[in-house]
């Protein structure tokens, strides 16, 4: 190892990066912009779902029942329908996401002390939304029932409203949402976005940087020089790692300052693990760049190889325990999951090195393995 040669490659690479002003600017703008757009845009709260109603009963009670839906922020009422034939086009075109059908004799049945049936048709195209809508419908239905039943008990058992209600609701569930008391989705998403953005951008920068030399032929200068491949790779990748570490700090600032996500863990530990993670993802870019020969391929490959596994197999949206057994194996094979553990531990939970050291250790092993692999696959004597 000759540090002078490493330094020469590093300064050459850094200069090349700075001279391409647009590329250099975007190396910093892209991560921040991705973080901001997704942080603001990726709201998973299902609110104001458009709803229509087909009321065959048209009594004060059926209107009262419907009003509970209209008044809820979960739904936005789009009007009464006249016949069942209107339902399919509305649901199929996505104009409404749910339709409530109240049959005749709704009020009559309830007043006579008999159960009444209503039907909710839900658009299941987006299962996650259907699930949430179902939950809201059940909650509204329950609260209506509780009132009806307590009124019924008042009438038939001669007990007070309060006692009837208390008798029907003996258990008060005190649900405490830990770490994120108000269930703010930006608090939960912003730190994880850090993980995602740092998985997409460093490999992209690195792969493009290395493959550009291959594609334009500039790499032959390296092949014919005295520099060893270890020195070349170290020198070449250092500027990208430095840029990415800087970006990681910027993203951390965005997460804490712009989105206000609470950071409760140790800063030093988190910084160290972020550096490890950035080295990992840079290493992934290195692997991609030794496998492909053109920049088109490099950009597509880094994108495809990084995005899906990090979004779905890292615990970002879907916890690891909810994945299928094969999905759990995929998750364990990738660095994203370990850094997600660190991110959510350090940000919201406020746990530190004591709990998370094993995740950090895996990242370190991963980084070392990736660089070894890249080193062994990179040759100064191309095959052809």
């Amino acid at each position: 190892m000759n540090f002078k040669r490493i330094l020469a490659v590093t300064s050459r690479e850094a200069r090349g990066m700075v001279r391409d002003k647009l590329f250099f600017a975007m190396a910093f703008i892209v991560p921040a912009l991705l973080m901001l757009t997704f942080g603001y845009g990726l709201s998973l709260d299902v609110m104001h779902s458009p709803l229509a109603a087909l009321d065959y009963d048209r009594t004060s009670m059926s209107r009262d029942y419907l009003h509970r839906f209209m008044d809820s922020p979960a739904f936005s009422f789009r009007g009464y329908l006249k016949s069942e034939r209107q339902i399919y086009p509305l649901l199929a075109s996505g104009t409404v996401r749910a339709v409530l059908i109240i049959p005749e004799h709704f009020q009559q049945n309830l007043l006579a002390g008999r159960p009444a049936a209503v039907q909710t048709l839900i658009d299941g195209t987006f299962p996650f939304r259907a699930q949430t809508v179902k939950g809201y419908v059940a909650a509204i239905n329950n609260s209506f029932n509780l009132r009806e039943l307590s009124l019924y008990l008042c009438r038939t058992r001669a007990m007070s409203r309060r006692r009837a209600l208390a008798g029907l609701e003996p258990i008060k569930a005190q649900v405490r949402c830990l770490y994120n008391r108000n269930l703010r989705s930006d608090w939960s998403i912003a730190p994880r976005l850090m993980m995602m953005v740092m998985m997409i951008c460093p490999p992209f920068l690195t792969a493009m940087g290395v493959v550009r030399e291959k594609e334009t032929g500039a790499i032959y200068n390296i092949y014919s020089s005295t520099i060893t491949r270890g020195e070349y790779l170290l020198g070449k990748l250092t500027p990208y790692v430095v840029v990415s570490i800087f970006n990681a700090v910027v993203l951390w600032l965005i997460a804490t300052e712009v989105f206000g996500a609470p950071f409760r863990g140790g800063r030093l530990f988190f910084f160290a693990s972020s550096v490890l993670y950035v080295i990992c993802t840079t290493g992934m870019g290195l692997i991609v760049s030794v496998l492909v020969g053109t920049q088109v391929a490099a950009s597509l490959v880094t994108f495809i190889v990084t995005v899906v596994p990090t979004v779905f197999y890292s615990g970002m949206f879907v916890p690891i325990s909810s994945l299928s057994p094969s999905g759990r194996v995929v998750a364990r094979l990738l660095p994203a999951m370990y850094f997600t553990n660190i991110v959510s531990g350090c940000f919201l939970k406020g746990v530190g090195f004591k709990v998370l050291w094993s995740d950090a250790a895996v990242l370190a092993i991963y980084a070392a393995a990736l660089f070894m692999l890249g080193y062994s696959r990179f040759h100064k004597r191309p095959a052809s």
């Binding site: 839900i122 019924y152 994108f303 299928s324």
Partner: protein, 382 residues
């Protein structure tokens, strides 16, 4: 007549050239196959946006038949009982380490108070560091507790269990249309297919164009009798063909064969919409290619446009929950129209009579972008 023939022949020659160039990049083809098959399979299988096997830990200070009955309600597939603990503090530790998602604390004398009718508090701690699942878990748990309390309350008030169904209550029966089992696989695999199509439709034409600029071969093309349109359009044509081939592969190889997605509408209509979408998005790629000077810049710009397109598409964030400003922005995202149209055709069986608005919106956007791309290109070189 001959002029038209020459025009068409030029188009053909250029398209063949693009296809040849594409076919020589082995790594790219390999990853394209990966993207349209395995990547979509990965996204479609194993991902569930629901509460599934949430690790639940019980701290039962009562150990009565009532508490056991309540614990029984936390059953699979939504919950998975991981074990019981003796002290409440242990629950905090398990939550911290991510080993438990829900900790249920049943207070002492739980059964006694249920029987006497005294109100009881049930402590449920939920890990909400993932807000969506935290919300699901919180709602689910309180619903279980409420309905358990409701049953117990009715029993105490002297309503026999078999009489419960004759009480005056509203029974709300759900029917979920288009995807009755709320199969996440269908949603996810289609969503991923659309994402992949978008990515390729932006990047491939943009890169094909920028590569010519970077290597200087565009100068060669400009001294030929070809017009700007004749240089740009074959690139889009060739890449559209490649993308449609990939789409076919994943439609029949992955979506139908592996995931049994019902193709309720006309597949031809889906292809037509896809083609229109590819042209629209390729127009965006061409605009990028006139702005970027090298492939590195083009790739970065593609990422910048791709990110917002995904989140403005309405697949992840429901449009009605968004602020008005963002909802207006959504009208500018071609993916927004494409998602409506493709879910409409594939899952809902909608025809052109229901989708014309989306198709029109996409066409208008595409025409504008394409014209902009050609205009900028012409300005740069002529």
């Amino acid at each position: 007549m001959t002029a038209l023939l020459v025009w068409l022949r030029r188009l053909r020659v250029m398209t063949v050239k693009e296809l040849l160039q594409f076919s020589r990049d082995g790594a790219l083809i390999l990853f394209m196959v990966y993207a349209f098959t395995f990547d979509i399979y990965l996204a479609g299988s194993g991902v569930h946006f629901e509460l599934k096997s949430a690790a639940t830990v019980i701290h039962d200070s009562d150990r009565s038949s009532a508490s056991r009955e309540l614990i029984d309600q936390f059953r699979p597939p939504s919950f998975r009982i991981e074990g019981t603990i003796e002290r409440g503090a242990e629950g905090t530790r398990l939550l911290d380490e991510g080993k438990a998602m829900v900790v249920l604390d049943i207070p002492p004398r739980f059964q006694e108070s249920l029987l006497s009718g005294a109100p009881t508090d049930l402590q449920i701690r939920v890990d909400a560091s993932n807000s969506v699942l935290g919300l699901f878990a919180a709602n689910f748990c309180s619903r279980i507790a409420e309905s358990f309390g409701f049953q117990a309350g009715l029993k105490r008030l002297g309503v026999a269990p078999d009489r419960v169904k004759y009480l005056p209550r509203v029974r709300n029966a759900y029917r979920v249309w288009f995807n009755p089992n709320q199969n996440d696989t269908w949603f996810m695999s289609i969503a991923e297919l659309l994402n992949i199509i978008t990515l390729f439709a932006i990047l491939l034409p943009a890169c094909a164009m920028v590569r010519e600029k970077e290597r200087g071969t565009v100068e060669q093309l400009l001294v030929t009798p070809l017009t700007s349109f004749q240089i740009m359009f074959p690139k889009v044509l060739a890449m559209a063909a490649v993308i449609l081939a990939g789409t076919t592969m994943s439609l029949f190889g992955v979506l139908r064969y592996c995931f049994h997605v019902p193709f309720r509408g006309s597949i031809l209509l889906f292809y037509a919409v896809t083609l229109l979408y590819v042209f629209t998005t390729a127009g965006l790629g061409l605009v990028i290619s006139t702005l970027a000077r090298n492939l590195g810049q083009a790739g970065m710009m593609a990422i910048i446009t791709y990110g917002p397109m995904i989140f403005l598409s309405g697949a992840w964030s429901p449009p009605e929950a968004m602020p008005r400003f963002i909802r207006t922005m959504m009208l500018l995202s071609p993916l927004h129209y494409y998602i409506d149209a493709s879910y409409g055709v594939l899952l809902k069986g909608a025809g052109i009579n229901l989708l014309w608005r989306s198709i029109l919106g996409m066409g208008a956007l595409g025409g504008t972008l394409f014209t902009l791309g050609v205009w900028r290109m012409r300005r740069q070189f002529e």
